[in-house]
Amino acid sequence: MNLEIRAAIEEFLYHEAYLLDHHRYLEWLDLLTDDIVYRMPVRVTRERREGDDVHSVAVYFDETKASLEKRVRRLYVRSAWVEENQPRQRHFVTNVMVRPTDETDEYAALSYFLVLRSRGSNHDLDRIFGQRDDRLRLVNGTWKLARREILVDEASLHAINLSLFF
């Protein structure tokens, strides 16, 4: 594994988290390829022998670039109350593992995340954690996110809404 590539991908993920935490969603959109597949399936609790705990149909997000753009555009509207007053949020991204793929310009990156969000003087924090299975693509010398599968670790979420991105 090329250490320079690993460092560049880590830098990409940290930069992305920085943009998200600073509500710079329009700039975040620029990090995504036009054919991005952005999914967040529902996690469930099952008997182990009955199969996977990632639901195959139920999702929180199943987005294209166009639908993400629409979600982002909404957040900038004055009456998007989830951003008014603006919550404070922090994406902690760790445990990054980078692997080459069959495509020369694409790398797989797995990372863990913990997102905490605070609103006003409220002591009830939103708390969301899990892992992200990403595909990063080098487009004209710039890294872009081409695919993201977000696995959240709770079956019943400890967040009043998912107005933010992961």
Partner: protein
């Protein structure tokens, strides 16, 4: 009842008589305790849709407020529901959300139960047990009443409760309309679940009685054209229909049959509407835009139009407002769609659902912020004072004594035109009646 006094209850009634509701009922721990006993232990609560349990052995686990419940389709095809708790020493029996099993074994001491709730296996039965264990007395504890309507399975903890059909009353007509219209609905996926800040009554009334909030809370989605502007214009007319037992429904109709009738359902399903609806229902459904309503106490539904890539799709979203404590609710949100709809339509409608409702939905996101704001401002003494010395009441005066019902509305119930608070006022009355065992005379509250 804690420190709750007849005077406090009288204060609630006097406020209701003026179209108001004291704010302290949102946060008061004694009211919450009383609600467990008088409301949640006596009313019909939604557990599951039949399509979640298609095969023998299929089960889902649910909650009736704080009681864990397992709903199982037996190998005889019959759906039963039990307290999801081992009869031996109370262990949570099944930890899975759903699945298919022949028997349910308790990990603690190894007792095993079948689809009928019968105790069929006892660990070391021959070595350590004799006639003192009468197996027939140690089955799972059944939910006393279990009945279904339009595929919706409800449970009731009160063995003496009136039948579900009586409890639903005229709501059945509307459930026939939105659920029976093409021959039946199915659940897609599993419910979304998340915890929001809010008292369950506030959330129930947000869906069931409060179309007024849409213009402000959801202004951003209207501005962006994600949702049709529901502010009533010349082409649409809204009604709020007061039903029995705290139920209600808001119906938005086009004044003329639109180019895409039947809530933009695909054309191949249109003949089914004719087959499954009465002529009156059929006419109403042709002109329908949005339905939003609720079955008291904790079930709400919305049948809207939404989409992510330009076109709008119809779907049915059911939700249970499961109280966690006076100030928190775990929301359970189901996506349902007509079984007869083409798969492509179902997929597009599901995308419309996650884009609008559920924790990631752009409409619901802003609702949750509002509920949290109400709760944040309701914890102090001025809001919680039971004597109302600070005028700490909520306003349900819209249309009060001014707007009369429209006898021309085709459906059952009392239908008011436009935006009114009639359903919330009726819900409060019913809630209060249950809380006080139907007391309405001055002396009865003591």
């Amino acid at each position: 009842m804690g420190s709750l006094k007849p005077d406090h209850l009288r204060t609630i009634r006097e406020a209701m008589d003026r179209g108001l509701l004291p704010r302290w009922v949102l946060t008061d721990p004694d009211i919450y305790a009383l609600e467990q006993e008088k409301i949640f232990a006596r009313t019909w609560q939604f557990l599951a849709h039949e399509s979640e349990l298609p095969r023998p052995g299929d089960f889902v686990t649910r909650w009736m407020v704080h009681d864990p419940v397992i709903v199982i389709r037996g190998d005889d095809g019959v759906v039963r529901a039990f307290l999801n708790s081992c009869s031996h020493r109370g262990t949570l029996l099944c930890g899975a959300d759903f699945g298919n099993q022949k028997v349910f074994s308790c990990p603690y001491h190894g007792w095993t139960f079948n689809h009928y709730g019968e105790l069929v296996g006892v660990a070391l039965a021959n070595q350590v047990w004799g006639p003192e264990l009468k197996r027939e007395e140690w089955g799972l504890r059944p939910i006393p009443r279990l009945q279904a309507y339009q595929g919706l399975i409800f449970g009731n903890l009160d063995p003496a409760a009136p039948p579900l059909t009586d409890y639903l009353g005229d709501m059945r007509w509307y459930l026939d309309l939105i659920m029976g219209r093409t021959g039946g609905m199915e659940v897609r996926g599993v419910p979304h679940r998340w915890v929001v800040e809010g008292n369950w009554k506030l959330l129930y009334e947000n869906f069931t009685g409060d179309p007024y909030h849409v213009q402000s809370t959801h202004r951003s989605t209207v501005e962006l054209g994600i949702t049709p502007n529901r502010t009533l214009g010349a082409d649409r007319k809204g009604y709020q229909v007061v039903l029995q037992n705290g139920h209600g429904v808001n119906v938005t109709l086009y004044t003329e049959i639109p180019e895409r009738p039947f809530q933009r359902m695909p054309e191949e399903t249109w003949p089914l509407f004719r087959r499954h609806l009465t002529p009156v229902q059929h006419d109403l459904m042709q002109r329908a835009s949005v339905f939003v309503g609720g079955v008291f106490p904790t079930l709400s539904f919305v049948s809207p139009l939404h989409g992510t890539e330009g076109d709008l799709y119809n779907f049915l979203n059911f939700r249970v407002w499961r109280p966690i404590d006076p100030c928190h609710v775990e929301v359970w949100s189901w996506f349902l769609i007509d079984r007869a709809a083409p798969e492509g339509y179902k997929q597009a409608a599901y995308k419309g659902y996650i884009d609008s409702f559920g924790p990631s939905g752009t409409l619901e996101q802003d609702d949750t912020e509002m509920w949290a704001r109400v709760m944040q401002a309701s914890q102090g003494w001025m809001a919680r004072d039971r004597t109302l010395q600070y005028q700490n009441v909520m306003n349900y005066l819209m249309g009060w004594g001014r707007v009369d019902p429209d006898p021309g509305f085709p459906g059952p119930g009392t239908a008011y035109p436009g935006l009114v608070d009639a359903v919330s006022r009726s819900t409060h009355r019913y809630w209060f009646g249950l809380l006080t065992d139907g007391a309405d005379g001055e002396g009865d509250l003591g």
